[in-house]
Each structure stands twice: as C-alpha cells, then as structure tokens.
Symmetry: C2
Subunit: 158 residues, 2 copies
DNA sequence: TATTGTTATACTCTATAACTATA
DNA sequence: TATAGTTATAGAGTATAACAATA
C-alpha cells in the first residue's frame, strides 16, 4: 500500500472528532427541541434574553455576533408567539429593549430541562468522573479559543 | 434574583460546549482550506474516495449519508478541476466508479497536512497527555453515538 | 420493471444594502 | 448627520421528485 493511501486512511485529528461530534450533538438537540416548536437559533436567543434582559437589539446582535437584520426575524418569530416582548424606550424611541414574557420564561425552563436530558444522552457512555474531566478540557479549549460563554458561534456567518 | 433567571444564567451542559466548540473548529478549518479553494464537503468526499477508491456514487452516497443527487454536484466540482475521475464500469455501464487523479491525491495530502496544523491550533492550550485523554473520551462518545469513523455527520440533512 | 446517475424545482437560511423613524 | 431597527433582494446550499440511460 503506498504511503499516501496509508496516511489518508489514518484516523482524523481530534479537531475533526470535535467538529463531527459537535454537529451530531447539535442535530440531536435540534430534534429534541423541535417538539417544543423552536429552532436552535431561537433557543439561543431566548437564553441570551433570559441571561441579560432589557438589552437593545443592536447590543444583542453584537453579543451573539449576528447582523442586526437577522435578529429582527428571530425576535419577530418569538414575539408573534408571545414569548418575547419589545419594550420601547420612552427616552430614546429608537431603542427596543428585549424581555421574556412569563410564557417565554416558562418555555426557556422547559428547554433547559430538555438540554439536561440531551446532555445525559450524549454523555451516557462516560462515568461521572470522566464527564467532569471532559467538561473541564472542553471549557479550557473554549476559553483559549475566545468563545463567548453560553453563546453558540453559529450566529457568526455559517 | 428569581430562581428561573438564576438557572438560565447557569453554564450550559457539556453537549452544548461540544456543539459550540465543534462549530468553531469547523469554521476555522473551513477558513484554512479555503486557501486551497475547497469546501469542507469537498474535503470529506476527497478523503472518502482516497480511503475507499472505486466505489459507485450510490455506495458513496450511502457511506456519507447524503442523497445521491447531492453527490453529483460535489463530484462534478472536483472532476471539473481534474481532481476526481468517474470511471465507467464496462460490465454495468450504469455504474461510475470514483477515483482520485494524481492531482487529487496530492491535494488530499495537502489537506491532511492543513488538518494537522488546524489540530495543533485548536488544542494548543492542552498538554500532550491531556490531548490524548480528550481524544479517547471523544472517540468513545463517537462510537457510542454510532458515528461512522472519518465521516462528518453534516452530510445528513443539516 | 428496477437501478444508476442526473436534472429541475422549490425551499430554507443568510448577508448586504437600501430604507424609515427617531435623535 | 448619525443611529436603531426594518424590509427587500439576492445568493448559497440542500432535499425532493421527475427523468434518461442502462440493465
């Protein structure tokens, strides 16, 4: 067997494993939350509003790393269902502060709970000690790579 | 602070970290190989052909988990550049066996080398012993979750 | 009649840039 | 004139299903 073919048959690197497993985890999560009739992007926005309510759409767009125009559609889709509110700032009427409604907060908690089930399903083959070791390794990489905690980088041009 | 808000401020689970880091790694890899004028999907196909040459497009589509119609465009894009060859089977002229050309094999090796640089960049914050521990944890999850080794699950409806 | 590969069509997602309303 | 948000438009990527060639 020629050297080139041998090399291509080699197992791919850890970064590839990470990408493959990440895509798998994301797809499985999307399936779970589809039962709640929300998309991953909507979920991330709900999470972000819950974590820091009252921000303007511009500020939120910057936090998530998305063009403001994309945020409009996401906010619309949640506002139409009464999950999110735009509150106009009386001082500067250009600003729309984002808040969860009571239903939005309730849904966010349901999603959080689905997330825990999802976590267990993905990590079921690891012991508890291994899970925390994995978690700390991943957290270190995420910090080193400059990822914003709790924000999926998929909002940035993918 | 109410309980609901506290919970939503909690760090997300490991599966979320995995998804976020995987998307990040995939995006950085896409940037690197853009210099070679190939996309991640093309890269995966080149890899698959290199690993198991001579397969029909149907067989390849099944291996990658993609509709055969999607494979046509990918193969076209590589064949137009002289990287991949369709060889018609004289016995059954419906079948097109996929092979790399010499240039295709050379490009596949360049990509492999870019992949190693990419790996180092993503994992630079970990010691060597930590990298192998991470690798073995990820490999176990991948196997438990039924991922085909060396194949990115993104070929399946995303 | 069944199968391989291809093409045609339509749909989803997204970014860019023009536009409005407020300041 | 500058900024927040919105709308319009166009492009990329993909799946579904119809189709042609071959068996």
């Amino acid at each position: 067997m020629p050297a080139s073919a041998r090399r291509l048959d080699d197992p791919p690197g850890s970064a590839f494993l990470l990408a493959a497993l990440g895509a798998h985890a994301a797809a499985r999560f999307a399936e779970r939350i589809a039962a709640l009739d929300v998309t991953p992007a909507q979920t991330g926005l709900l999470r972000a509003i819950a974590a820091t309510p009252g921000q303007s759409q511009q500020a939120m767009a910057q936090l998530l790393g998305t063009p403001p125009s994309r945020l409009v559609g996401l906010v619309d889709s949640l506002a139409d269902r009464g999950l999110v509110e735009r509150r106009r700032n009386p001082t500067d009427r250009r600003l729309h502060a984002l808040h969860l409604t009571a239903e939005g907060a309730a849904l966010a908690e349901r999603i959080e709970s689905v997330g825990r089930e999802h976590d267990d399903a993905i990590l079921r083959s690891l012991e508890h000690s291994e899970r925390s070791r994995l978690r700390s390794l991943l957290a270190r990489i995420a910090e080193d790579q400059g990822l914003t905690p709790g924000v999926h980088p998929g909002y940035r041009r993918m």
